[in-house]
Amino acid sequence: MAAADKVDPIHQFHINPIVPIHVGGYDLSFTNSSLFMVVVVVLTGGFLYFSTAGRALVPSRLQSISEMSYEFVASMLRDAAGTHGMKFFPFVFSLFMFVMVANLIGLFPYFFTVTSHIIVTFALAMLVIGTVVIYGFAKHGFGFLKLFVPSGVPVALLPLVVAIEVVSFLSRPVSLSIRLFANMLAGHITLKVFAGFVVSLGAMGAVGMAGAVLPLAMVVMLTALELLVAALQAYVFAVLTCMYLADALHPSH
């Protein structure tokens, strides 16, 4: 049971300062979270740069991975927001690559999952919504507010409907961030708990070893599932970003 006590599924999300920096009462320390953000950005940027450096007409494997991710995000954005939406392509592509690589890197044992903290996903979601709101007002002025007024609603009901629509709009960044964060958090806790079963059962002698095969198989399956969830959530995040940007481009449809 001593081994079981050591298994703490939450411990992996703990933030440890690596280089303590305190500026004017604020804690700006360089933490393990910051380290992995840097790792993600360097890895993504380096991969995209070096894989496309050859500029081969017939792409190599790595180059075709880069090209496929480009094509994938480009067609997603074009479908959702039209060709006008392509001005947001760098933004959406960076978001997609950052979230996906952060999710995938987090699956390595002992690695920190940046996207398992709601403040990180919320910051990303606020970036999206901030872009939508600022671009929407800059392009359409107050016409952007038509987004909140569904046509064909009786005047008497309009204040209520508009209030509900506004709350619904404001809930978008929250739901966007909760979804990514909760998926990552739940997945990693589940993995950790099942892996903990393997350890604590394995410490119980021969019978325990035999029993530990079951959670071990479960962990293998869950890892595959988490791999899928990591890619899927990055995709969902990017798709929703595209949809919200489409609202900013054409608020009245």
Partner: protein
């Protein structure tokens, strides 16, 4: 034969009418084909996006996360707005009550929207026209 085509004996009204009808049919036919082509270009994409090699249970899991996060987010935002309003305006507890209810409504709306049962933002009128 000629008499059948031109009932008035002028020989012009019959064929003329036929042309108009043909033209209209051609126009409709062309538009129908264009629509079909447009739909065909969209459908495979959507199917691909939904398949993506996921099993039914995984898509159900993703769906559950999607709907619950939409619902929870709207209520959380409603509570947040109400609480902040109460603190600023000192109307406690009325802001919290009203915005909690609004958040609940928005949550239901979000879930229906995420499930594809209600039209998206700013498209309410068109959708209701279609249903009428």
């Amino acid at each position: 034969m000629a008499d059948e085509k031109g009932p008035g004996g002028t020989g012009k009204t019959g064929p003329g009418n036929e042309d108009v009808a043909n033209l209209r049919d051609d126009d409709l036919e062309r538009r129908r084909r264009e629509l079909g082509a447009k739909l065909a270009t969209r459908r495979p994409d959507r199917l691909e996006g939904e398949d993506k090699g996921q099993t039914r249970s995984v898509s159900g899991y993703a769906q559950a996360f999607k709907l619950s996060s939409e619902f929870i987010a709207a209520i959380a935002v409603g509570i947040g707005i109400g609480w902040v309003l109460d603190r600023w305006a000192g109307t406690s507890p009325w802001g919290l009550i009203v915005f909690l209810l609004l958040g609940f409504c928005a949550g239901i709306l979000n879930v229906l929207r995420a499930a594809g049962l209600v039209a998206e933002f700013g498209r309410g009128g068109k959708r209701s026209d279609e249903q009428d």
